[in-house]
Amino acid sequence: MSTHTSPGDKIVVKGASLLGEQATDLLLEDGVIREIGSVSEKGARVIEADGLVALPGLVDLHTHLREPGREDAETIRTGSAAAAVGGYTAVLAMANTSPVTDTAENAERVFDLGRAAGLVDVHPVGAVTRGLAGEELAELGLMATSRARVRVFSDDGKCVGDARVMRRALEYVKAFGGVISQHSQDSSLAGASACCHEGEVSGQLGLPGWPGIAEEVIVARDVMLARHTGSRVHVAHVSTAGSVEVIRWARAQGIDVTAEVTPHHLLLTTDLLTGYDPTYKVNPPLRPVEDVEALRAALADGTIDAVATDHAPHARHDKEHAFVDAAFGMLGLETALGVVNTVMRGNDLLDWAGVARVMSANPARIAGLADQGQALQVGAPANLTLIDPEAQVTVDRDASVSLSRNNPWHGRTLTGAVHATLLRGVPTVLEGKLV
């Protein structure tokens, strides 16, 4: 919690442009937006926001905070810091920790550590199956009724491959409004040593890969299972044009399916692998440019609901192996807004309202977070992000507040920088720095 501002203090955000529209002032008090318009600064701390764009605090459906188990790569505190610096006020922490988040007790532990860090709301994702083994259901209901109120369940990192288990999980979570977030990857089409997208680049590099179809067959199966069960499925990190087509079709049938895309799949392509740099090894893998274009279009037209980072910190030594042996994953929390702004707003595919939709409102809705992602209006929780829309930022991996350095954006210049983040009226980030 900030030492400078306590929840009862008044803050005036002066001259912020709400969703890029007309500039106005906001009075924040008791964790909510008290007034919008011309407000009195009396007794209030003022945050000058002239030229800044205000969005509702960002919500990330997909992060790996590594605690418990790999605190050398990231902790809930450092991951929360990276999230706040990235403009986030809430993150969902994936279950593939050690131990796995597959019980109420484990979920509460993550939840409590998040509260103690106090920089963003940390909502644990529960495992679908015990130990992520894909066989027996984890204690989904007990996690849901725990203090952590788990609503999103995922074996992320692994696919729930068994159709019977996936069917039962989809059915079971209906009792408490849960959703299954699936890592779509058919293990028989993605061999054990597969490490990248299978295509022209992998063929020349001699790297074992897996084709887009390995994702698409699972997406297709799961939307049919969602239709059969009348339940809700969420497709994590969609990476191919074929998956987009399936999701678009399913939506048209009225199937309850939502989907997310990562920032890296909106910009980085498979030809980055030619240097065999494991920084670019990620699952799902970087795909060809045709897929990237389809993903951008799907995010713009609403077929894909949300941007989710899949922030995946790794200790340096876990990336300093040969490409096939190195760990999967890349950092994403601190750069997501810049990437989305550069790729989507920069190409007129989304406006600021659209960015708010895919990075805040939709992810909050999918995760069932009532106090996040709300429109910036009087009475709403004072979760907001102030963005300098024209700032040119050259990413420096060593400037990160994450414990890890597996940053694929290092050296790239992105447009737009998070200037401030406020969680329930309390600044967590000011002038781009942690408070």
Partner: protein
């Protein structure tokens, strides 16, 4: 040229220079006293993470005949299984004071990664299913000894292309030298995206060996692992032999002087019949002999290069 990681590191002139020096080294091989002083005092480490007899001993002999101190370090399995990162492993080896690292590793790209971490010269002696550049150089060298210039020569490369570093290096080397290369395999053993690659690089692909063989000026057979049938790449070894093996019947369709190459080790009876392996036109042993000369040349140019320039 600081390292030899891929055939892409070489232009035609560089290849020609390697072949010219190899020819001189080839003469040394037939002398009674085979030792040259060129690399006296230099240390070459053969760092082999994967089993290999012929490539390792070929590099070892090459280094010794050039008077380098040649040391073999072999370790089966990946460094990850020992809990050490590849970077730590190679930095440890190089900290002993190494001029050249000849490296064989199960992972594609590993030689390139290592070259970015160490000061020593790195020679790729086979990285996963990516490349094996000295094999391609020795194949081209041995072929030129038989055929003269490879310009316009029709060369068939047949076998498990997907899993073959020999194929990947050879297709680059032979097309650079002007050969008209056709690669032959069942669709399941063709690398992904090969059609676009072939089009961009100017080689051809075929699923039908019998269509390709009659026009071939040279045939290179690749090793096929019997275990591949477990990955549903082909039904049985028998069917593979019938459809893609250099059988006695197919041998008869070749001209008597058409060179037959195989990088070894051969699966006699699977991808190559004994009659073909042992035929007068087989270059299998010439390849081995050329291998030492070409590797001497590569070591010489990478380690003593400045003095010759």
């Amino acid at each position: 040229m600081k390292h030899l990681l891929s055939i892409n590191d070489l232009d035609v002139d560089a290849m020609r220079m390697i072949f010219d020096t190899a020819a001189e080294m080839h003469d040394v091989q037939h002398r009674e006293v085979k030792k040259l002083p060129a690399l006296r005092g230099r240390t070459v480490i053969n760092l082999f993470f994967e089993d290999s007899t012929r490539t390792r001993s070929s590099f070892e002999i090459a280094g010794k005949w050039l008077s380098a101190d040649t040391i073999n370090i072999t370790g089966k399995g990946s460094s990850t299984s020992k809990g050490e990162s590849l970077r730590d492993t190679v930095l440890t080896v190089c900290a002993m004071g190494v001029d050249a690292l000849v490296m064989r590793h199960h992972a594609s790209g590993s030689a390139q990664q290592v070259s970015e971490w160490v000061d020593a010269v790195v020679i790729n002696a086979g990285d996963g299913t990516h490349e094996h550049p000295t094999q391609a150089l020795l194949d081209a060298y041995a072929l030129e000894l038989k055929l003269g210039s490879l310009e316009g020569r029709r060369i068939a490369i047949v076998g498990d292309l997907t899993h073959s570093r020999v194929f990947r290096s050879n297709v680059l080397a032979l097309t650079k030298l002007g050969a008209d290369v056709t690669v032959v395999a069942p669709p399941t053993l063709m690398p992904s995206g090969i059609d676009a690659w072939a089009k961009a690089s100017g080689f051809s692909t075929s699923y039908d060996l019998d269509e390709v063989l009659p026009g071939a000026d040279a045939v290179m057979m690749l090793r096929v692992q019997r275990e591949r049938m477990n990955g549903a790449f082909f039904p049985t070894a028998r069917e593979y032999t019938v459809r893609y093996g250099l059988t006695r019947d197919r041998l008869a369709t070749l001209k008597p002087d058409t060179p037959i190459l195989h990088p070894g080790p051969m699966n006699r009876g699977l991808e190559i019949a004994a009659d073909a392996a042992d035929a007068a036109q087989s270059l299998v042993l010439d390849q081995v002999s050329a291998g030492v000369a070409v590797r001497m040349s590569v070591l010489y140019h990478l380690l003593a290069g400045e003095e010759t320039a």
